[in-house]
């Protein structure tokens, strides 16, 4: 017997059906969870500690058994499948890479294919390809996990999860133990991989920023294992359903929401530039209050204020610049470029990193305001 909502649309890859998990008579860790996880998309479980997000993830591959309810994987009840076989059909990436320290990187990646009976040589060839897929040099394959950096280990963890080409990837805070630079890089790579692979990814994090960057849909869990909101990240930032979600997404949610507004219409104004080579020549004067310092390729390297032009003779003397706005990027980047710049002028660059002009915060605000008015009208129309 199927309910109307079940019969409509394509079959979800994973369906939680009234899942509750209670540990030894305590309060439920997961409370009556029902949700559908879309095929080929990234679904992020986010929430504070103790909200049941990891427990929910681990019930998908039966690392945790639910107290009641069923989980359907591609329409099949996971409880009826052999646990080991079920787990081999899904990739699993965890916070600390969990690599086997006694095996080389290549053999770590080849683990699941080997369990599935793929010959060693064949599994190793595939493992080498995967190193390349996750952006690691093939020489690293002969190393042992203990010889890799944290970021490299996480990449190997992702490669290992992909090795048997499973349709589903479960990722349990995979990037939370690496430093912010590497984390941003790994997030970007995951999105790049996902564009090619289109796996069904369930991703657990406690970081709302990470959730909105990665998720096609975001499930916000509240303490006590309650699913507070399950929606597109843009919607969660724009219209949190209750105080808990609003509080969790934080004070910056208005600013974060700008990440979902394309900055195609931001006006880029021309700006006077001075080349690094010209700095030492006192006869080259600047006319604007702030002149952008660029190298021979046109890449920005800070600012030269008119007032102190005389004392700036090398690149090191220049006033450091703010973040860069790549043309076509989101309004958030555009605004941040303007706000973080000492001159108040956000430096806009093209895809090759060459300066093409500046953006102004006031104009970005106008675009934000315009977008808000448009949305208001749209909401009004649907209401009528």
């Amino acid at each position: 017997m199927t309910s109307p909502e079940q019969s409509s649309g394509p079959l979800p890859m994973i369906r939680f059906n009234g899942i509750t998990k209670t540990y030894d008579g305590g309060r439920p860790a997961v409370d009556d969870l029902s949700m559908d996880i879309d095929r080929g998309r990234i679904t992020v479980f986010v929430g504070p500690s103790g909200c049941g997000k990891t427990t929910s993830l681990r019930m998908i591959n039966r690392m945790v058994e639910p107290t009641s309810g069923t989980i359907l994987l591609d329409g099949q009840d996971v409880a009826l499948q052999k646990a080991a076989e079920l787990r081999r059909s899904m990739g699993y990436v965890m916070q600390s890479s969990g690599l086997m320290p006694h095996r080389s990187v290549i053999d770590n990646i080849a683990t699941v294919p080997r369990l599935n009976g793929v010959p060693r040589a064949e599994a190793r060839v595939r493992a080498k390809e995967l190193l390349d897929v996750v952006g690691l040099a093939s020489e690293l394959g002969r190393r042992y996990p203990g010889q890799l950096s944290g970021g490299q280990q996480q990449r190997v963890g992702v490669a290992r999860a992909l090795a048997a080409d499973p349709p589903v990837l479960l990722m349990d805070e995979p990037f939370s133990a690496v430093d912010p630079v590497v984390r941003a890089e790994l997030q970007e790579e995951l999105l790049r991989l996902q564009r090619d692979l289109a796996k069904t990814i369930v991703f657990v994090t406690h970081d709302i920023d990470e959730a909105t960057i990665l998720g096609d849909k975001v499930a916000v869990f509240a303490v006590g294992g309650r699913l507070a909101q399950f929606a597109a990240p843009e919607e969660i930032l724009r219209a949190p359903v209750d105080d808990f979600v609003a509080g969790f997404v934080g004070r910056d949610r208005g600013f974060r929401h700008l990440s979902f507004q394309q900055g195609d219409h931001v006006t880029v104004h021309p700006i006077e530039t001075i080349e690094v080579d010209q700095l030492a020549d006192p006869t080259v004067s600047v006319r604007s209050a702030w002149t952008l310092l660029v190298d021979a390729d046109g890449r920005p390297h800070g600012w030269v204020p008119q007032a102190t032009r005389g004392s700036i003779t090398t690149q090191a003397d220049a006033v450091p610049g703010g973040s860069l706005y790549t043309r076509g990027d989101t309004l958030r980047r555009a605004l941040d470029a303007a706000l973080s710049s000492p001159s108040g002028l956000g430096v806009a660059v093209d895809d090759d990193g060459r300066a093409i002009g500046i953006v102004r915060a006031a104009e970005v605000f106008e675009l934000i305001e315009g977008a808000r008015l448009d949305r208001g009208r749209a909401d009004h129309n649907t209401a009528v």
């Binding site: 059909s89 965890m94 320290p101 369990l115 952006g135 020489e139 950096s149 990449r155 290992r160």
Partner: protein
């Protein structure tokens, strides 16, 4: 035996260098073989008992309290007393002495195996289980290779104790290197007494050295390697690009 000096060490040297003591069924080589036979048999039985038990407790975590208190009790038993007890209870042969030595060897092997298995990083075990390894595969492909260092350490400690203690067999049955100690005491032959003790010590060191070698080759190089080799490779070109891009904004 007549010695040229009353000095203990001279007597020992003369006893050790006398060719008579190196031949025949009562000579040193034969006694070493007998001794090693006892050690081998003892360790075989002890491992057959302690290794499966240690693997079970280490992997499942069940029966930990029982194991720990059991090991404590076994360690408190006096081995010489057990040799006589078993000899009185059963018969004058090889086996009573071996059983007494087994009681001595089980605690270090058992605690080594148990500690080795339970010392393996639980995150690695959890990851292995999440990837779809069965419990047997987790035990033999993850826990044993990673806990091997500690496990072999336990076996080494057991062997060392048994090599030293197998001398007690000589009290129940005139066999093994203990014979030289018993005879030496009885006939007041200090050269024989100390010569026998030195041979036991040398044998213990040699056997332990052999075990150290086995340990070295049995352990995966990955478990020793924690530092990247010289000239670390770049994380990736992309990271470098990110880093330089960030540098570019300053």
């Amino acid at each position: 035996m007549d010695y040229s000096s009353s000095n203990l060490f001279v007597q020992m040297g003369e006893w050790l260098s006398d060719p008579v003591n190196w031949s025949g069924s009562r000579g040193i080589p034969m006694r070493v073989l007998e001794h090693l036979g006892y050690v081998g048999l003892t360790m075989l039985i002890a491992c057959a008992i302690a290794i499966p038990l240690g693997l079970f407790v280490g992997h499942t975590g069940r029966g930990r309290v029982l194991i720990v208190s059991g090991i404590g009790i076994l360690r408190a038993l006096p081995t010489l007393g057990m040799v006589f007890l078993f000899a009185l209870l059963f018969y004058r042969g090889v086996l009573p002495s071996v059983w007494a030595l087994v009681l001595l060897a089980v605690p270090p092997v058992l605690s080594g195996v148990y500690a080795g298995i339970s010392s393996v990083n639980r995150t690695v075990v959890d990851a292995a289980r999440s990837m779809g390894l069965t419990e047997w595969q987790i035990l033999f492909r993850v826990e044993v290779p990673n806990g091997l260092q500690v496990m072999i350490g336990g076996v080494r400690a057991g062997i060392l104790q048994v090599v030293a203690t197998a001398t007690v067999v000589a009290y129940a049955k005139a066999d093994g290197l203990g014979v030289f100690l018993v005879e030496g005491t009885q006939i007041n032959d200090n050269g024989r007494l100390f010569g026998g003790a030195v041979i036991i010590a040398v044998l213990a060191i040699a056997v332990d050295g052999l075990m150290a070698l086995i340990q070295k080759f049995a352990i995966s190089p990955g478990l020793r390697a924690t530092q990247p080799p010289a000239g670390p490779l770049k994380e990736s070109g992309r990271q470098e690009a990110v880093a330089s891009a960030q540098g570019g904004t300053t």
